[in-house]
Amino acid sequence: GGIITQTPKFLIGQEGQKLTLKCQQNFNHDTMYWYRQDSGKGLRLIYYSITENDLQKGDLSEGYDASREKKSSFSLTVTSAQKNEMAVFLCASSIDRVSGNTLYFGEGSRLIVV
């Protein structure tokens, strides 16, 4: 089996600050995803990547950048942190982009903006 590791588990930043979350997977999966989880709102897709160096915007991409420099890693940057962005960010991967594939999730990174 594999694992998805998200760092840091908690990220505390100031309003207006640029903050970066990192995700590593050892499944050797092609496709990786970043979701935002707000309490009572389910998961919303921010960015995904089909393969190394590919980036695709999700429904919630405004205010975020992403980077996929290696197949095993996928980073998400909050370009200017706002207090209403405090949420849990979940990284996931799947073997490829085909519908019906299982997504494997990391434990999440909680963003706190002060």
């Binding site: 995803y33 389910g42 998961l43 490829d96 519908s99 299982t102």
Partner: protein, 115 residues
């Protein structure tokens, strides 16, 4: 576009009792249907998924779900819950003609098990 409705934000059941968590979806075709579970301070894990065949699909830890096309529902069931089943459960739908990035999640149902 597809959508998923989980009408119950929170469900409380006694340990050993049976469970049903409700899920209804909106999609013009036949989609992939999933149930994921999120235990405290963890990411989501797949419980089961369905596309075709027997409308009752078995998952891990004694969970099963039934696809009822006429009702656009995919309810999750378990015959006898354990305290370790306390978690948040997400129903999700993915159109078969699009990529996995089009996976749409419901808002989740928090399951609380009473001793």
């Amino acid at each position: 576009a597809q959508s998923v409705t989980q009408p119950d934000a929170r469900v409380t059941v006694s340990e050993g009792a049976s469970l049903q968590l409700r899920c209804k979806y909106s999609y013009s075709g036949t989609p992939y249907l999933f149930w994921y579970v999120q235990y405290p301070r963890q990411g989501l894990q797949l419980l089961l998924k369905y596309y075709s065949g027997d409308p009752v699909v078995q998952g891990v830890n004694g969970f099963e779900a039934e696809f009822i096309k006429s009702n656009s529902s995919f309810h999750l069931r378990k015959a006898s819950v354990h305290w370790s089943d306390s978690a948040v459960y997400f129903c999700a739908v993915s159109p078969i003609t699009e990529g996995a990035d089009r996976l749409t999640f419901g808002k989740g149902t928090q399951l609380i098990i009473q001793p």
